[in-house]
């Protein structure tokens, strides 16, 4: 099934095999120039947090230390996100080239792909690509090797410092920050950790130049983005689209005509009700872009038949299990939110208990140790506030 007017881009998934050429080109360039190219392109982290990629590379390149690492974060666990899996299936070599350029810039000799346990079936094909990649490394004379580190089923390991802990043989518990990964990441060494898609984008930027990338999208949200579209849609799947689309347009393209809400950014993202579709843009927060919602690419559409209570309940069950459990607001707060909405729904607590839960969610946002606990409030508040009538007994 397809819709006529859908304007799909074809940067990331285009079959291109000129890694050698890109590498030869970048090998000759000063690191500063490569970093500038990235900064100019406006590329921001595609895992969802949206940190400027060029700046990240710059900080790591400037960090003191002889041993540095490049890590590709392939622990794609956000509900509703599956784009990294597709990128690693279709164009893994682009990701590896991105890692190699990064290694050259920051001075790393070792790189890792942290692959979530659920994607173990990708291992064999990835290992083959990595073998070819190592041949290329020898050919271009770059002392850089990539290994795969396999996860074992823990959503929180997508959080970068938890991912380092996991690689170091520990429970995947996020660290206190500062220090940030560019100062002290894996093995406490300066580390660049980028999402799969981010690295794939660098390939396009190094191939076509930063201007071409920058021409796409809008202020503060440049380039294209790979979206994982699921839920009540006739055309679920993976779509590379230009940044800066309004949610109204998105629903027109992807909805089933009866869309009541869209969850942007997965369980840790925001729920936008129908009445706000036209006022909401998909992209990073910025001064000029108005109400915009960042996303790692997860777009879940719900139609009128769906109970938003059930949706929220499912998210909260997810968080209750996937919180690492170390910090109070996240460990206990998630349980209280889940039991709280159950109690209100069953009439065991009055409807104004939702207000207490909303303020709890807000407190979790400002006190939690890492992005998981901090972002539970996103979905909780946006669903409870917009669909209060569905929450009540």
């Amino acid at each position: 099934m397809s819709k006529k007017n859908l304007k799909r881009l074809d940067l990331i998934f285009k079959n291109e095999y000129d890694g050698e050429h890109i590498l030869m080109k970048t090998m000759e360039k000063p690191n500063q120039e490569i970093v500038n190219e990235l900064i100019i392109s406006g590329l921001k982290g595609r895992g969802g947090a949206g940190y400027p990629t060029g700046l990240k590379w710059k900080l790591a390149s400037e960090a003191a230390g002889d041993i540095k690492y490049v890590i590709c974060n392939a622990d794609e666990g956000e509900p509703g996100t599956f784009k990294d899996r597709e990128i690693l299936t279709q164009v893994p070599h682009k990701v590896l080239i991105g890692m190699a350029v990064c290694a050259k810039v920051i001075g790393a000799h070792e790189g890792f792909i942290y692959l979530r346990g659920e994607y173990k079936f990708l291992m064999d094909s990835l290992l083959e690509v990595i073998d070819d990649f190592h041949v290329l490394m020898n050919k271009v004379g770059l002392d850089f090797r990539v290994k795969i580190f396999k996860g074992s089923g823990a959503y929180i390991c997508g959080e970068e410092s938890a991912l380092f802990e996991s690689m170091e043989g520990h429970r995947g518990e996020p660290r206190n920050k500062p220090p940030y990964p560019t100062q002290a990441g894996y093995r406490n060494m300066p580390t660049v950790i980028n999402n799969v898609e981010t690295l794939a984008h660098t390939y396009s930027i190094f191939k076509y130049g930063s201007e071409k990338f920058r021409d796409l999208g809008v202020q503060d949200s440049r380039g294209s983005k790979v979206f994982s579209v699921s839920g009540d849609t006739p055309i679920p799947g993976i779509y590379e689209l230009e940044f800066g689309m309004s949610l109204q347009k998105f629903v027109e393209d992807f909805g089933d005509g009866d869309s009541k809400a869209v969850q942007v950014g997965g369980a840790s993202g925001f729920c936008v009700p129908r009445k706000r579709f036209d006022k909401t843009m998909i992209g990073y927060q910025g001064k000029l872009t108005g109400v915009s919602l960042p996303t790692g690419g997860s777009m879940m559409i719900f139609n009128s038949s769906r109970s938003m209570y059930n949706v929220l309940h499912n998210y909260l069950e997810f968080f209750v299990e996937e919180s690492c459990g170390q910090c109070t607001p996240c460990r206990v707060g998630t349980q209280q939110l889940l039991l709280g909405i159950e109690a209100v729904k069953k009439g065991q607590r009055p409807s104004d208990y939702l207000d207490k839960l909303l303020s709890l969610a807000e407190n979790m946002r400002v006190t939690s140790k890492c992005g998981l606990g901090q972002s539970v409030a996103n979905s909780f508040s946006s669903i409870v506030e917009n669909f209060k009538e569905e929450m009540i007994y």
Binding site: G80, F82, E118, S152, S166, R306
Partner: protein, 164 residues
């Protein structure tokens, strides 16, 4: 030396006796035995010269590192939002009916364990499940039954081959 001692030793030889080898070694044991027994964890602790409690604490953190016995084939049905919306409960019911076990249980012959899991990253093709490491997507009860049947038949086949 017991089978588990040998297994852990060879995994430690392969991955090295560092803290960082803990996860790969745990995964290696689970690949082989489907779960981490008390004995296995003690052996790992001994090989890496760390406390047994630390091995347990780390293993129990990860959903795929089971510390309870599991069947030969572990069926993990995704329970997260879009798979739920698209009927994962019917899939679970079908599996329960076919294998005559409840969620969380292992068949008497030790061949199958059925559990739920969080998002498998197959949301556009839900409902989805993993059997061991292989994803099965766009499931319907019929399709699920067929998949299970092929596993059951293979098992029957391999057991008769063994008898011969």
């Amino acid at each position: 030396m017991t089978q588990i001692t040998n297994l852990v030793k060879s995994l430690a030889d392969r991955h090295g006796r560092y803290n960082e080898s803990l996860l790969p070694i745990l995964q290696g044991v689970v690949d082989e035995n489907k779960f981490l027994s008390e004995e296995a964890m003690v052996e790992i602790a001994r090989e890496l010269d760390i406390s047994a409690a630390r091995v347990y604490g780390t293993a129990s953190f990860y959903s795929f590192l089971n510390t309870e016995p599991m069947g030969k084939h572990v069926i993990r049905v995704c329970k997260t939002i879009t798979c739920m919306m698209h009927g994962k409960n019917h899939i679970i019911q079908e599996i329960e009916k076919t294998l005559k076990i409840k969620l969380g249980e292992t068949t008497h012959d030790g061949k199958f364990t059925l559990v739920e899991t969080n998002c498998l990253g197959q949301c556009h093709k839900g409902p989805a499940m993993l059997i061991n490491d292989t994803p099965y997507t766009n499931l319907t009860p019929e399709k699920t039954r067929e998949i299970l049947q092929s596993f059951i038949e293979n098992e029957a086949l391999s057991s008769t081959t063994n008898l011969n």
